[in-house]
Symmetry: C2
Subunit: 240 residues, 2 copies
């Protein structure tokens, strides 16, 4: 089988989902780092791989593919030996996973990604922070977390849709939500306070996917330390 190349930056939540999926399923792949903070995703060479200038993207034989959910669906079907629970062959179960993956774009992603960007990441990309946009994003995020809890984590559900084992939707959603690690502790407490079920579910996904989960998120934890270390330094400097 042709070699699989995964173009990714582990600071990007959908990049982490793809890498975790490959590692969980022992899919042989080469990880090609596309450094977002230095703008490598806008290089002409990368545009040949993904004209959208985003990560992740994959190259597999003659196929060049972008959009993380399309990539997850493809990998689950194209590589032999991927257990059925990741993307079930049963049409109804598959359709329910497709539906929440589609829902993700205009809800969880729109809320979480915008909140992190407008609260903390914007300056790294040369843009000003935008508290008003962050406030709007937090509303979308809160409503999305409520929907996940009430609709797709019924009773003591271990994974999304009440499944006994994780699917590609668990990977996509958990990587998106983990991005909120970058926020200050007080913001995380406010956001997750009413959503204990989400925290419990994150632990379930961690337990089911470790050591890959922690390895793939190591760079996020490191960046968090850097950002908040720097913020404390700045606070000290401007202190009394």
């Amino acid at each position: 089988m042709a070699e699989l190349k995964v173009y990714a930056d582990r600071m990007s939540q959908p990049s982490r989902a793809i890498i975790m999926f490959c590692k969980m399923n022992k899919i042989d792949f080469e990880e090609v780092k596309v450094h977002l903070a230095t703008g490598q995703h806008r290089n002409p060479e990368y545009r040949e791989i993904n004209p959208m200038q985003q990560v992740p993207a994959i190259v597999h034989g003659s196929l060049k593919l972008f959009e993380s959910h399309a990539i997850l669906r493809y990998l689950a079907c194209a590589f032999q030996g991927v257990p059925d629970h990741w993307y079930p062959s049963d049409l109804s179960n598959r359709a329910l996973i497709d539906a929440i993956l589609d829902w993700h774009h205009s809800n969880l992603r729109r809320g979480a990604a915008a909140l992190v960007f407008d609260t903390i990441l914007a300056p790294i990309f040369g843009r000003p922070l935008n508290p008003q946009a962050a406030e709007e994003a937090e509303k979308i995020l809160d409503s999305s977390l409520s929907k996940i809890e009430s609709l797709w984590l019924p009773g003591n559900a271990k994974f999304l849709l009440g499944n006994a084992q994780p699917s590609i939707a668990d990977l996509s959603f958990v990587c998106e939500i983990m991005q909120l690690e970058l926020l200050e502790e007080k913001h995380r407490e406010r956001i997750f306070g009413p959503h204990k079920k989400i925290l419990h579910w994150i632990e379930n996904v961690k337990a089911a996917t470790n050591p890959n989960f922690e390895e793939v998120h190591a760079m996020l934890y490191k960046t968090k330390e850097k950002i908040h270390g720097k913020m404390s330094d700045d606070a000290m400097k401007s202190g009394p």
Copy 2:
């Protein structure tokens, strides 16, 4: 096979895509009207069908499904005799269609739906028009139309991705873009002026899907007449 119920309002672009798909493929279904303008999508009975309180949704046997792309994927696989071109069984061709369907959410849909809402539909739903949001939406729409033309309608491509026959992505995209019919002619001219390839592709989809295309869009054309008839009346009244 269990009866298929399609909950839809033909004023909703993804509702039209589902209805067109069923008609094109002679899938037997009952169309249940959920009248958005009178808020039927928020009724408790409909919430039992789709907790997202949006259209379209389907019920098929024990499966309740929302999100139009998930519905299109499901219908293409669950009903025998649907020609392969709608959602190819070849994994690479299927993945490319999945990718542009996923892309749609944060790009074409975000631009086109918001532009129509903030320019014309908001008052019907008791909300004020929002020219600033409309301006932002038009930028996203313009950039989305450019990407469709340059990336997925190469050369003399008849359908998206250079395919010889339409896929579920053609249906989804064309119904979204047709919603712009509701805008005033001068706005449509400004938007489509630089995008002749899009207009040509719409004609290809129409030709491949008529008489279903025109039948499913009849209500949109009627609403357009009503809105602009009313606008001319108002202009007369407030005239000199």
